[in-house]
Symmetry: none
Subunit: 132 residues, 4 copies
Amino acid sequence: MNSTIVQSDINFSLDPANGAPIYRQIIQQIEYGILSGRMKSGDRLPTIRSLAVNLKINPNTIAKAYNELEIKGILATQVGSGTYISDKKPGLEEDARLQKVGEVLRRFIQEMKDLGVDTDELIALIKSFPQR
Amino acid sequence: MNSTIVQSDINFSLDPANGAPIYRQIIQQIEYGILSGRMKSGDRLPTIRSLAVNLKINPNTIAKAYNELEIKGILATQVGSGTYISDKKPGLEEDARLQKVGEVLRRFIQEMKDLGVDTDELIALIKSFPQR
Amino acid sequence: MNSTIVQSDINFSLDPANGAPIYRQIIQQIEYGILSGRMKSGDRLPTIRSLAVNLKINPNTIAKAYNELEIKGILATQVGSGTYISDKKPGLEEDARLQKVGEVLRRFIQEMKDLGVDTDELIALIKSFPQR
Amino acid sequence: MNSTIVQSDINFSLDPANGAPIYRQIIQQIEYGILSGRMKSGDRLPTIRSLAVNLKINPNTIAKAYNELEIKGILATQVGSGTYISDKKPGLEEDARLQKVGEVLRRFIQEMKDLGVDTDELIALIKSFPQR
DNA sequence: GTGGTCTAGACCACT
DNA sequence: GTGGTCTAGACCACA
């Protein structure tokens, strides 16, 4: 008999051409999932094995991602039960989210400037970006 | 007799805290130098050894950067003479630039969506971004 | 759990009297291996270290060969996992092959003309060439 | 007062993308010029300086080519007068020419075979090659 | 002087 | 275990 558990509906997607290592892509997607509110405290994460099968990668890689997040206090592992999103999510509060948004934005604007795209063009580009 | 040679006036600078490997920082600075028009076809690059001395790194590291750009067809080397910017610069044409812009933009919008920022907010953010 | 991995059955062989540098001989053998169909997309190449031991050369030399092919998009590496033949193999497609054929042909005809052999003689020569 | 001197009508052309070093391209063009009969004993070669200017390369490079051919006995230098094609041209008689033709042909056919072009296709290709 | 090749070896991140 | 980065240094061919 099982209490109802919310299985995190996160859709992990790996981009081999991303450049970032696989374990870091996983970490980011979990963190962003929490930041954006799609994942909440107490949600259960997929098991290492099932995720490894789904993503066709080495279980060790997922373990490394989960482990790093547990060290940060963002995840909590209960042996025999699974991995859950911790109640306290240090560094993932609203403030942190805004800070992260600013960071990504700054880097993006700089890169676009390097590519010769100024802010006005940028806005036009985003407005015309196909919403899917 | 003086053959006029344009020595590229690029100012290489390395950022140890960048995270990106040294040779890749050099590659990017050359590519951006060409994209921005500061460096033109036929320009001569600093010699491997002189740049190595200036940047206080091993010549092999410079050679690795130059070599990758030669494989890509962006640079052309003449042993005994030096390294030059190739006439045809595949991957650095206007088309390629636009493609690159689209790529960066797409990834950025996706990342912002993951962070819970929708397109309207995005535009507002960019508009309010401090222009320096 | 066993992921089936096709280990490339390529037999690398170095010819010290070849004149071509070692790393280039390796590159050519991989390219020809793909062209001839002996190696297919997704096949795993020997590890850098194992090949270095087999060929009794420095691992860096193998790495240089693999690296150049990766820049060209012919190989794809996954650190910690190995080096694989890429799905898309630019420069080894049929179009590129035909272009290469034209290039070699043009250079050959020019060289023969320099040697005082005109096209008619050339055809006669090739027809009489001992087929083995 | 000057005895009539036949200035060699050789048209040197360098191909930077050839791969072969410049000085070797010059050597080959002189040897082929003799083999094909376009250049004869006693013909005068361009001066090092004039050729250097025409080809826009370093005079040392031409000197190196001339020097190597003089060592072989193919050229003869008369200080203050110029460089001439020697009376005796060791290794450049008719026999040598035929041997060279065979050598180039063999290498070409092998390379085409490696590229998947058989002899019949080859003949068709050459026949259809635009004669200029 | 120029760049190219190769070796040797250290240290790192990733799977 | 895998490949990646970087250093140090030797030797070579070329302009």
